[in-house]
Symmetry: C2
Subunit: 129 residues, 2 copies
């Protein structure tokens, strides 16, 4: 399934804004955490590790929800629902480096590089307000 | 169950910051939306309506997750997991009025006042970073 991304949402996705990623825990409770991301035109990418809770959540339930608040208009927000399409090992933390540069201006290699993964989310539904 | 609220989290809860509320949809997928809130020392209160999706979600799964980004420190965030303790009808939209005044400075009565409800969330777990 390919979903059309409206122009306003594309513009938001180009910007280094913190988003909130919602996942479902294996026991069915929701979990929400702020995340860095980058959009490549097809997938929304997140860096994470292969041992923390969010990884367990998406391994169990690949559907996710991403909330983006427009920094220029707090009444404008976008909820992107999507599904984890695939997860790539990233033992050199290249995605983390890319994201730390995008958000902070400096490419950093994290201490847990060997356990890093790159999570690719495919948008399936866009809700704008 | 009573959970201890750390001082830093109390301070954040006193401020009119937008939070992201995570719920679980009846089909198990997560949903995340920005929300106004107010904290009364026991419950985190949200205004909502009795016909929209989030209401259906919490009627089905009362556990929620609240993500708060510290406006003064984007690396500081708090995730509060909690449970909907009760939902009060609010047909005069008193909570909406209170929240619109807290966030915007003007108490507004919404067009859907008759369907408004006040959702009381009891914190059960605090995760700080």
């Amino acid at each position: 399934m390919i979903v059309e991304i409206p122009e306003r949402v594309r513009e938001l996705l180009e910007r280094p804004v913190l988003v909130n990623l919602g996942t479902t825990r294996p026991d069915g409770a929701p979990q929400v955490n702020p995340m860095w991301f980058v959009w490549d035109g097809e997938f929304i990418w997140f860096t994470h590790t292969n041992y923390r809770q969010k990884y367990k959540n998406i391994a169990h339930e690949p559907r996710v929800s991403i909330s983006i608040i427009d920094p220029e208009n707090v009444y404008g927000y976008v909820e992107i629902r999507g599904i984890v399409d695939h997860i790539d090992p990233d033992p050199e933390a290249k995605l983390y480096q890319r994201l730390s540069e995008r958000y902070d201006g400096t490419a950093v290699t994290p201490a847990d590089a060997e356990q890093r993964v790159a999570i690719a989310v495919r948008p399936t539904k866009i809700h704008q307000q």
